[in-house]
Assembly symmetry: none
Homo-oligomer: 80 residues x 2
């Protein structure tokens, strides 16, 4: 999965979609953390704000939950 900077879909939504699918595939398991913001920045070549926006989308969906100083965790029971 690659980010298209010139596409019509905002980059942060593209990243959100990538992470969402990875979670649904089981790449990131419930109760465990997804890669850190810094890792996502490096791996996708994005700014932190963009990464955090993507995570925010998934958090709004109830898919993940960020914990200060620990990481962003996949929730056991996605609300929806």
């Amino acid at each position: 999965m690659t980010i298209d900077h010139d596409g019509m879909v905002p980059v942060y939504r593209q990243l959100a979609a990538i992470l969402r699918e990875a979670i649904h595939r089981g790449d990131y398991l419930p109760g465990r953390a997804i890669p850190s913001e810094n890792r996502l920045m490096q791996e996708h070549g994005l700014a932190r704000e963009t990464v955090r926006k993507a995570i925010g989308v998934l958090a709004d969906e109830g898919l993940v939950q960020a914990v200060h100083g620990r990481g962003v965790f996949v929730v056991e029971r996605p609300s929806g």
Copy 2:
């Protein structure tokens, strides 16, 4: 205080006036920070650039001073 999007006065100047009066009232004290850009965006339903322009007006007046990574502070000695 509410923003009038259809008025003759630009929104960022309306917001500047709102913040200026709040400072003069003492809602925001010298040496302390006014609400963050994000908060002002949310509370007034405005875009960041608009909020930043309003802050820019007050900064030009010497009423506030933005500090990178910290906030926008009410100055102790308004120049004027």
